[in-house]
Amino acid sequence: MRENFEELGARLPSFADGLLVTIQLTLGGGALAFVIAIILGVTARSEYLLVRGGARAIIEFFRGTSLLVQLFWLFYVLPLFGWRLESLVAGILALGLNYGAYAAEVVRGAINSVPQGQWEATTALSMRPMHRLRRIIWPQAWAIMIPSLSNLFIMLLKGTAVASIVLLQDLTWLGGQLRQATGDTFFAYGVTAVMYLGLAMLIVLGAAALEKAAKRRLGQGAAKATKPSAAAASTTVGG
């Protein structure tokens, strides 16, 4: 055990680098996924069949083929057509597209679950579609979608473990290296698991804070704040 920790200590600087890679992928992929989710989630509700169909096809395609395969295409096949992406870019792009497609369903579902009466009230006040979406529907949908998005965000964090496919040396990769150096599989992956757990906790805490703020804005805050909730933070449904 002692040697294991010594080995780990010696590798801490590279673990810091690996952590940085994982964080870059998570934040970059998450940000991109969020943007894609909004675009696809909104267009998938379009009244125009073509727009809606297009969004649906994109969502199904990126949900249906696996992240691994998408990454392979972006990084190894695209260059054969003359498009070369940097490792980090390819990683972020693949994560963003894949999880963006999942999150699009969350966004769509949350928008749909804003009560019908709210939509009708905006019509009664003659609001334009974009204005309605931005000012009335989104703030309400946002509060609904946070728990599911945080769930997906944790999935995305874990999904960054495929980074070694694009030659990035992330936490999982470094865990593998530690395993070779120590010959102790449990120790190496235990350390890795704890690091992922730490990052996931940060996401959970962040999401809980966001949800609280969103609910407060809807006037639901203090009224219901009876239970301190690790539970509320992790609620519901993905995709």
Binding site: G64, V69, E105, N151, G175, T236, V237, G238
Partner: protein, 219 residues
């Protein structure tokens, strides 16, 4: 796609590797997903009910454990289980996948259960129905309607996590594609086909779930 950039796509190769991939898909990916989903669906429900029914000293540790499962990569869990218990690798892998997804499905069940109106519980109490009967006949049947589509999403997601089984030396479809690639130094066809098989498998799953959802929405 195929001719001018001759290296990119070779149909002969695609036809050669396809049966191999399909075989691995049926033997590993499909089996793992189907059995894993069943485990996840059952364990998830038990966990969700534990959190509702069991005393705190049981409910909280179970919750904590499931949160740990949910927040750490499945790869790590696979490796741990594989070396800690000397069971059949495929069985170990399926159980680990099942429990990993149970952590997600438990949340789905929980929100489904919460979505059953409070009045239903009260009506059951007013009729002096036992808790067991209330769950069995009132709460679970009603929550299924909201729960099934969300569970379906996780089943589809599980399909695409089966390649992680390769860390415990199970040759699933993607692994088979990589081995083929390593043998012939040609990966594109094999990996792409694996992706398309995933797509071909998840889309019908999605349709199946829709169908089921409709059936449940009948009343």
């Amino acid at each position: 796609m195929e001719d001018e950039a001759s290296g990119i796509w070779n149909w002969d190769r695609a036809f050669a590797v396809f049966p191999e991939l399909l075989e691995a898909f049926l033997q590993v990916t499909l089996v793992a997903t189907v059995v894993g989903s069943l485990i996840a669906a059952v364990v998830g429900l038990v966990v969700a009910m534990t959190r509702k029914l069991a005393p705190a000293w049981i409910a909280w540790p179970v919750h904590g454990f499931m949160e740990f499962i949910r927040m750490t990569p499945v790869v790590v869990q696979l490796l741990f289980a594989y070396y800690a218990f000397n069971f059949d690798p495929l069985a170990t892998g399926i159980v680990v996948l099942g429990i990993h997804y149970a952590a997600y499905m438990a949340e789905v069940y929980r929100s489904g259960i919460d979505a059953v109106p409070k009045g239903q519980w009260e009506a059951a109490t007013a009729l002096s129905m036992s808790p067991g009967r209330t769950w069995l006949k009132v709460i679970i049947p009603q929550s299924l309607r909201t729960v099934v589509p969300a569970l379906g999403t996780w089943v589809i997601s599980m399909f695409k996590d089966t390649p992680f089984l390769m860390v415990i030396f199970i040759t699933d479809m993607v692994r088979r594609a990589q081995v083929y690639g390593g043998q012939h130094y040609a990966y594109t066809e094999a990996i792409t086909l694996a992706g398309l098989i995933f797509l071909a498998a998840s889309y019908p799953t999605y349709l199946l779930m829709k169908q089921l959802e409709k059936r449940l929405a009948r009343y």
